[in-house]
């Protein structure tokens, strides 16, 4: 009796997955997405295009954070620092009229090397120490950017305009910028998807799950933590380049501690260890301040804290896990109805939220 509703749910999901496995769907769906993304900038208003481009920038930054935190399980509070380094390298290169391809490569490499150096030391400490070390990056980064004023323009910052639409393309600047974000950001998302689905992604997952198991399987947790952190810094550098494409101005404030925490909140709210979650996180990062500023700008931080805590309580997987949580909830309520009909079926096997009700005496030992 009780299995009937869940059967129905599984058949509906299996028909969906078989639809997904059909060859023409597998090719048509991404193609459709590409066409939509290619047309979108042409028909939308300037404001929408600019907002979408900003979302793209921060989605890439959140994606980088997701690699190290969501997939490899190492809390990093310094992701914004690498965005800032990438932005400064871009601005410096552009003002000195270097080749734009060289600027892009440097905007990726310099943060990656910085990340590698930090990770080599920080990953030596187990567990939460990476979080405790990386919190220093934005806090040291801001005065450092002010100090190196020859290169960074000090507190005034640097502005660089290099992403005007080329003559003869017939595009407006905002459309051209959105195209750059879509192409570079899309490539990064695609590459990261391959990375986390492949050999490295599985190694990250084991390191996240249990370091001792990982090392007993011949996967060095240290090496993979350093790798994940370096890749995250590199992606942060890419987002810094895109930041300069869209916003065209950077100052020490870009990499402030507050922004770093907002980025982390955006990642958790969007969904850890999820590609779609990174996109949602980017949208959250950009849209929530835009909305709250219209109500009361001083409420922004408070609301972000509230939303983050509520999401952690209600939906630990972030917004990306919402569809799955909904189907599970529906299936569970269906099972409970079934259980009411036939007393033999144990519905408790489906309930995953019982741990909170366990007696207080059953604590796990930490020491």
């Amino acid at each position: 009796m009780a299995s009937a509703p869940s059967n129905r749910a599984s058949t509906s999901s299996s028909s969906l997955s078989s639809l997904r496995q059909r060859p023409w769907v597998r090719w048509a769906a991404p193609l459709l997405l590409v066409v939509v993304l290619a047309v979108l900038p042409l028909v939308m208003s300037e404001f929408v295009n600019e907002t979408l481009a900003r979302i793209g920038v921060f989605a890439v930054a959140v994606l980088g954070l997701n690699v190290v935190m969501g997939y490899a399980g190492q809390v990093s509070l310094g992701q914004i620092f690498f965005l800032g380094v990438g932005a400064y390298v871009t601005a410096y290169g552009v003002t000195n009229e270097w080749n734009i391809v060289l600027v892009f490569v440097l905007a990726c490499l310099v943060p990656a090397v910085a990340g590698l150096v930090v990770a080599l030391a920080a990953a030596r400490l187990g567990g939460l120490a990476i979080a405790m070390v990386t919190i220093a990056l934005p806090i040291v980064g801001v005065p450092l950017a002010k100090r190196l004023s020859e290169y960074t323009g000090g507190s005034q910052g640097l502005s660089a305009r290099f992403a005007e639409a080329p003559e003869g393309s017939g595009l407006f600047d905002d459309q051209w910028q959105l195209y750059i974000v879509l192409v570079i950001g899309g490539t990064v998302f695609l590459l990261t998807r391959f990375l986390v689905r492949g050999k490295y992604g599985r190694a990250f997952a084991i390191v996240k799950g249990n370091e001792n198991v990982a090392s007993s399987m011949g996967i060095s947790p240290y090496r993979y933590k350093v790798l994940a952190f370096t890749i995250a810094s590199l992606i942060g550098g890419v987002s810094g380049f895109l930041y300069m494409v869209v916003i065209q101005y950077t100052s020490p404030e870009t990499m402030s501690f507050g922004h770093s925490i907002e980025l982390l909140a955006a990642m958790v709210i969007g969904g850890a260890a999820s590609i779609v979650g990174s996109l949602l996180g980017g949208a959250f990062y950009v849209l929530v301040p835009q909305l709250t500023n219209q109500v009361d700008a001083s409420l922004t931080t408070l609301l972000q804290g509230v939303i983050l805590l509520v999401v952690l309580f209600v939906l630990p997987g972030g917004l990306a896990s919402l569809p799955r949580a909904l189907t599970r909830g529906r299936r569970r309520s269906g099972a409970e109805r079934g259980a009411a009909a036939s007393t033999t079926s144990p519905s408790s096997t489906l309930g995953s939220g019982t741990s909170a009700e366990e007696p207080e005496t059953e604590r796990q030992g930490h020491a």
Binding site: M69, G73, V75, L77, A121, A122, R124, L125, G126, G127, L128, A129, A131, M132, V133, I135, A136, I139, V140, P143, L144, K146, R147, N212, V213, S216, F257, G258, I261, E262, L264, A265, V268, S298, L299, T300, T301, L302, L303, Q304, G305, V306, L308, L309, L312, F313, P316, S355, A356, E360, T361, E362, R363, Q364, G365, H366, A367
Partner: protein
């Protein structure tokens, strides 16, 4: 020479503030195995309580005592209603929860009391006293003395009382403590409350110098975490010594190393960490963690 001693004494006083915060973090970590990134934020909230009470005309010392009571309650409430749900789960999630709490407290303080700097009344006068031909500020000496007294009291509580014994039992092995009939949940609340109180003392002492803002202790938190890493999470004495060392070294480096100066002295503990990590990955005083697979 006079300047050197002055710098060392001032460094000792800021180091004491870091030490109090770091000790609070270690206290919470020993009891629950997580790092509370909101420790500084909670302390700032207590400082705001003192500030608004003194604005109402309450004498400073009464306001401080009231704020310490407030912070004990705050710590206990946070443990019971927020952290307990995440204590047994993934430590990374618990850390994100404390970061959410930090955001929430910062946002709340900014919303209620604005992000503007507020002048905070000082417990000690700014005058200097001459001692063996060296003049040192009363505030530095007072801050150091108060925090050392607070630490000694805490140590006496842990070593000399039944409550302290129970708290230590919970920290060492919560499961066995529960089996021997200790109210583990309530003791954890007490532990969090004591940690919050220690943080509140630090915040009240440092607020006149930094002027009160919602993000006042963000930097101090970074120093405290550096002290925790250097001292090792398992060694309260090591953490305090590391915090003093950081306080003194950063003060000296700010004056005697031209490139660092006052704006970049926050980098000093991390240069120190880099060096220590390469030599002693378990921290200066910590023990190496051995895990059975």
């Amino acid at each position: 020479m006079g300047k050197f001693v002055q710098l060392v004494v001032d460094g000792l006083s800021t180091g004491s503030v870091y030490a109090a915060l770091a000790l609070a973090i270690v206290l919470v970590h020993q009891a629950t195995g997580l790092i509370n990134f909101a420790q500084g934020g909670m302390a700032v909230l207590s400082a705001y309580v003192v500030w608004s009470l003194t604005e109402q005309g309450v004498p400073l010392i009464v306001a401080i005592l009231l704020a310490i009571v407030f912070s004990i309650v705050l710590g206990a409430v946070v443990e019971r209603w927020l952290m307990r749900r995440f204590e047994r789960g993934d430590p990374d999630t618990a850390v994100v929860v404390t970061i959410g709490l930090l955001t929430l407290i910062t946002g709340f303080a900014g919303w209620l009391w604005t992000y503007n700097n507020q002048q905070f009344p000082s417990l000690f006068s700014l005058d200097t006293v001459s001692f063996l031909g060296v003049s040192v500020s009363q505030r530095s000496i007072g801050t150091t003395v108060v925090i050392v007294v607070a630490m000694v009291l805490l140590q006496l509580l842990f070593v000399g009382t039944k409550l302290g014994l129970a708290l230590r039992a919970v920290a060492i092995n919560p499961q066995s403590a529960a089996f021997s009939g200790l109210p583990v949940g309530r003791l954890l609340m007490v532990g969090w409350g004591l940690a919050a109180a220690l943080g509140a003392v630090a915040a009240v002492l440092v607020a006149p110098q930094l002027t009160l803002t919602p993000g006042m202790l963000d930097n101090a938190l970074v120093y405290a975490l550096a002290a925790v890493i250097l001292g090792g999470l398992t060694s309260p004495i090591g953490v305090v010594l590391a915090a003093w060392m950081i306080g003194i070294l950063e003060n000296l480096a700010a004056v005697y190393v031209p490139f660092i100066g006052f704006d970049l002295k926050v980098a000093v503990p991390f240069i120190l960490i880099f060096v220590v990590l390469l030599v002693r990955p378990q921290g200066l005083f910590g023990r190496k963690n051995v895990v059975r697979v």
